[in-house]
């Protein structure tokens, strides 16, 4: 057994996993307020990346300005989605809202394809690709940066949910009717959670855009992000972070063992197995809230 190689697989797996978490945090934010997994989060992430590129390449702004500006634009887009589309569905069955998010994803993919075409563009963040060595272990710098961003967002949101606004959002997630009854604006709260998730989409879009290029494939991050969110419990930010690390490590180490046996492609199988087994064995995930049994 080569321990150095195994640790390298595990550490890089954990870092990649935190990048899945970065994506999944956006899903959790919307789930917390609307009780619906946002199937358009992949589309939003891709749009986030394209907006950064549009501001940086087409308008010519420096990246340090283009990224926050894109965050502002996406914040507005998130609010707009609630205003234009979701508000009409308030009180309808959750499955209708789910279908709406699917429609939104298709719409976002179609729009980006029409505007920016199908060729991949590069983000060029300027993060060095020189190897970084931790002892004998090779670590990718961009993954390290992305994992750092994920952890910063994690801490920020943990703190946010203790503020008065954050508590109101959690109250909305618990009970719309009771929220209305004490004057909480449920509509504005849901809009705000979409706006925050859209900002997270910019962060995820920039990091993943740097890693795999900016094209339609960015929207497919939804599959791994959703797996992480479900494993973490869908409404838990901490769950999304821990589940991301778990999925990343299991995927990276597992694929190294399994690939020689099945001849490649085992990553997808591992992700599928994690998603299916979670739903079957532990549907509320690692940290999801149980619905409280009334005595």
């Amino acid at each position: 057994m080569d321990w150095v190689f195994l640790s390298e697989l595990a550490i890089n797996g954990a870092l990649t996993g935190l990048l899945y978490s970065l994506f999944a945090i956006g899903l959790v934010l919307i789930y917390k307020a609307s009780s619906v997994p946002n199937l358009a989060q992949g589309g939003l992430t891709m749009v986030g990346a394209y907006v950064v590129l549009a501001l940086a390449r087409d308008v010519g702004l420096p990246l340090w300005l283009a990224i926050p500006l894109a965050a502002v634009v996406m914040f507005g887009l998130g609010f707009g989605i609630e205003r234009v589309a979701l508000r009409r569905l308030a009180g309808r069955p959750v499955v209708m809202i789910l279908m709406l998010t699917l429609g939104l994803d298709i719409f976002l993919r179609g729009t980006t394809l029409a505007i920016w075409g199908g060729t991949s563009r590069s983000m060029e963040l300027g993060v060095s690709y020189d190897p970084l060595f931790l002892g004998d272990i090779f670590i990718s710098r961009i993954h390290l940066v992305g994992a750092g961003v994920a952890l910063v967002l994690f801490v920020a949101f943990m703190l946010f949910f203790r503020t008065r606004t954050g508590i109101k959002l959690r109250a909305i997630a618990d009970d719309y009717m009771a929220s209305w009854s004490v004057g909480i604006s449920v509509e504005r709260g849901v809009g705000f959670s979409w706006a925050l998730a859209s900002v997270v989409a910019v962060a995820a879009g920039v990091i993943w855009g740097e890693i795999q290029g900016v094209d339609q494939a960015l929207s497919l991050l939804l599959l791994k992000g959703l797996t992480v969110a479900v494993l973490g419990g869908l409404d838990s930010i901490l769950g999304a972070v821990i589940a991301g690390i778990i999925l990343g490590v299991v995927e990276n180490v597992g694929a190294d063992f399994l690939d020689p046996l099945v001849g490649g492609g085992s990553r997808e199988l591992i992700v599928a197995a994690v998603l299916i087994l979670t739903v079957m064995i532990r549907p509320h995930g690692l940290f999801g809230r149980h619905d409280i049994e009334r005595v």
Binding site: A90, G91, R164, I167, K168, R170, A171, A173, D174, D175, Y176, M177, A178, S179, W180, S181, V182, G183, I184, S185, R289, I292
Partner: protein, 270 residues
């Protein structure tokens, strides 16, 4: 002149209000209810009579259930609120403790109170409000950092009332707060309502099926049956009314009485 005086006396006035759900289901059919400023009023009636619908019409929560006021008007402190948004009504001072307690289960009691804080309430005012509420309900203070979903039924009802008080209402409406609670708890909670009413001049509109307990603390009551007000009088008058005694205060229990109950009910309905 006469009108003006009545308005000043009544914090809430609901005139011939009709409510439609889903544009077809007529749930209340011309209900008129007045709540005097600083008064305590009860709304009595059996299941499906239209009590909750009446409260939702006043608080604006009908919209969330696809209901709407199709006729009549509601004024609060002289202002027409028939079409106002629920949020606006809370800001004006109407708070509705909805049926079934409905605390925010995954929040702590303390967070439940914070969640209800009006926009722009300062931290010190909020803390003062909380202290006052914990003063009224010491059991809540003891458990303020546990999860609200695991509180007992009585504690959850106290929390639901406390949460409404944080909005600093002038009119507090409660929908069957006694439901499923032991008699001593009902007495405790009603006693506190009475105290808040006296100390702070808070007007109260109380919906109850437990007429016996309700008539002990209110000055007047309305009896609603099948979407209409069928009786209105002082608590004393209602308590001594023979129909009310039999059907709502736990009068006779025999088959014979049930037959009579049925025929009298029909009389109210016609």
């Amino acid at each position: 002149m006469q009108e003006k005086k009545v308005e000043a006396q009544n914090i809430l006035s609901m005139n011939s209000v009709e409510v439609l759900y889903d544009n077809v289901m007529l749930a209340i059919k011309g209900v008129s209810v007045q709540v005097p400023t600083g008064g305590m009023i009860a709304l009595l009636g059996s299941n499906g009579a239209g009590k909750s619908t009446t409260l939702k019409a006043i608080s604006g929560l009908l919209k969330a259930e696809r209901g709407r006021i199709s006729r009549g008007e509601i004024t609060f402190q002289g202002a027409d609120i028939t079409e106002a948004l629920a949020q606006k009504r809370v800001e004006m001072g109407i708070c509705h403790v909805i049926e079934g307690r409905r605390v925010f289960e995954h929040l702590t009691p303390d967070e439940n109170l914070t969640a209800a804080a009006p926009h722009g309430m300062s931290r010190s005012t909020l803390n003062a409000e909380k202290d006052k509420i914990y003063g009224y309900f010491p059991r809540l203070a003891e458990r303020k950092n546990s999860q609200a979903g695991y509180l007992s039924g009585g504690e959850q009802q106290m929390l639901a009332i406390g949460r409404a008080l944080v909005t600093q209402p002038k009119l507090l409406m409660l929908d069957e707060p006694s439901l499923g609670l032991a008699p001593f708890l009902v007495e405790e909670i009603f006693g506190i309502l009475q105290k808040i009413n006296k100390d702070e001049g808070l007007s109260v509109l109380l919906v109850e099926q437990n007429a016996l307990a309700a008539l002990e603390i209110v000055s007047q009551g309305y009896l609603i049956e099948n979407g209409r007000v069928v009786m209105h009088g002082t608590a004393e008058a209602l308590k001594s009314n023979s129909d009310i005694q039999e059907f709502y205060l736990g009068g006779g229990e025999t088959d014979f009485h049930n037959v009579k109950h049925y025929s009298r009910r029909k009389r109210w309905l016609s």
